[in-house]
């Protein structure tokens, strides 16, 4: 895009680009002198013969972003003041370009033809004699077009400036630093409320009607907890003394719970007890009694 912009620039300054074709291309649309236009009103000399070498023209024409862009180019090239848009003159030049585009069978967007119609309309309104009875507020028919041209020029400038703005991948590069190998993503576990657990339990139990409800009574629970704790304390290989399973600090109730838990575990064949003789110390171990 820089190169094409450059081309417009060069031809608008009427300088020779170094090849005859492009120099010639600028010739036909040149007007003798800006002085020839007064008030934008009409009387001008006939343009010089229109000869546009197709190759060169095509390059120029294709760089236009639309009718407003083309109009701006024509205005800037002739150093016209946008605010006193010499409509007849610009219209004529515009039509020359549009004709050239058609001749070259360039894809001619409808917008170019629409602009031609707008220009023709403005021109004809300017030619009409002013009616005295009409209010003085009648606006200059060129005003809207001038506003649009100014606005488009601003956008064009903004686009060029945006392109100059330092940008990633072209002018600046993002820094990437790796983490040391012991950085691992942290997983946040979901929150669970106790109410959810309790409800889940009663729902599961409701579905399984086979289960008797008394098994979930509070007392059974602490026995069951003690059963888990005892299983956790014991292992498969070594015997532990039975009294290691009791915590005197818990008082009588605690000892009873532990004793019940041991009985339950023996009944469930999860642990077994051995006693060397009467009144000897009882030892416990994980696993069931082996039947002899």
């Amino acid at each position: 895009m820089n190169s094409s912009a450059g081309k417009i620039q060069v031809s608008s300054e009427h300088s020779v680009v170094g090849n005859d074709a492009s120099a010639a291309a600028t010739a036909p649309v040149q007007q003798p002198l800006p002085l020839a236009f007064i008030n934008g009103e009409a009387l001008i000399e006939k343009p010089e013969d229109l000869f546009i070498p197709p190759d060169a023209l095509e390059v120029i024409l294709e760089t236009f972003e639309g009718p407003l862009d083309l109009l701006l180019y024509l205005i800037r090239k002739q150093k016209f003041d946008i605010t006193v848009l010499p409509i007849a003159d610009v219209t004529k030049q515009y039509m020359e370009y549009v004709d050239a585009m058609m001749a070259l069978k360039l894809e001619l967007a409808a917008e170019y033809l629409l602009m031609a119609a707008i220009l023709a309309e403005i021109k004809s309104r300017l030619l009409l004699p002013k009616r005295s009875d009409e209010s003085e507020e009648e606006e200059d028919p060129r005003a809207e077009l001038i506003r649009r041209l100014k606005e488009y020029e601003l956008v064009k400038q903004a686009a060029e400036d945006l392109d100059l703005q330092p940008r990633l991948e072209r002018d600046i590069f993002e820094v990437s630093v790796s983490t040391s190998s012991n950085v691992v993503p942290i997983r946040v576990e979901p929150d669970v409320s106790l109410a959810e657990v309790v409800l889940a339990f009663s729902q599961a139990m409701k579905r399984a009607e086979a289960f008797e409800h008394h098994t979930i009574a509070r007392e059974a629970l602490s026995t069951r907890e003690r059963m888990s704790m005892i299983l956790d304390l014991l292992n498969n290989t070594d015997y532990s003394p039975l009294e290691a399973l009791f915590t005197p600090e818990e008082g009588r109730a605690g000892v009873v719970v532990s004793f019940l838990a041991v009985l339950e575990l023996v009944k469930a064949q999860l642990i077994f007890c051995v006693q060397a003789g009467p009144y000897a110390k009882i030892h416990v171990k994980l696993g069931a009694h082996e039947e002899d």
Binding site: M1, D69, D161
Partner: protein, 197 residues
């Protein structure tokens, strides 16, 4: 809340900005790496400023863009650094840049409004490319027949062009003046409701 000394805090903030995949904001720093410490806003600002200064003479710089802080290479080194990649940076057409500029300056704006200013149709491809790059997004729909989408630019757009806010756009003043003038001038105001296409 634990405390952390300023030297460690600075190392942590520095490393976090370096290893984060995207620019990281003050708030994100507080919500992640700093969340178990009590760090005053002033302290954090001071640290960020110090880091900026620390890197001033170096080959990379700490800068603040729209979505936060990032380290980036020195602008001046780009001719050599670009040799690290086989492909050259993408170039954007005038049509694309003009469309992007209009969305940036006039947001929220419809495609029809862009076409009106540019005087030509905006190809769907341009809108698609800009959307895919994450530079523009639909922020709503205009309550007119057809309910056309309203486009605006994103933080990623500002990040990409090294800006921290829309106020950093070049020519922002010119656009503002243009908008003001057309509003204060009654003749032009009527003309503003331009013949729609």
């Amino acid at each position: 809340m634990k405390k952390i000394n300023t030297a460690q805090l600075k190392q942590l903030v520095e490393a976090a900005i370096f290893v984060a995949d995207k620019p990281i904001s003050r708030q994100q720093l507080k919500d992640t790496v700093l969340n178990e410490f009590t760090v005053a806003d002033r302290t954090l600002s001071k640290i960020l400023n110090e880091l900026k200064l620390d890197y001033q003479p170096r080959g990379i710089q700490l800068i603040e863009v729209a979505s936060g802080f990032r380290f980036q290479s020195l602008d001046a080194l780009s001719p050599w650094l670009s040799k690290l990649w086989q492909e050259s940076a993408p170039k954007y057409s005038r049509a694309m840049l003009e469309t992007l500029a209009l969305i940036a300056y006039r947001q929220p704006i419809t495609r029809g409004e862009i076409e009106q200013v540019r005087g030509v149709a905006v190809s769907s491809n341009i809108i698609k490319t800009l959307t895919e790059r994450g530079w523009i997004k639909v922020v709503g729909h205009k309550e007119v027949p057809g309910r056309p989408a309203l486009y605006a630019t994103t933080k990623e757009f500002l990040d990409y062009f090294s800006m921290s806010s829309l106020a950093d756009l070049p020519d922002a003043d010119a656009f503002e003046n243009m908008a003001e003038n057309s509003e204060s001038d009654p003749t032009l105001k009527v003309l503003n409701e331009a013949p729609s296409k």
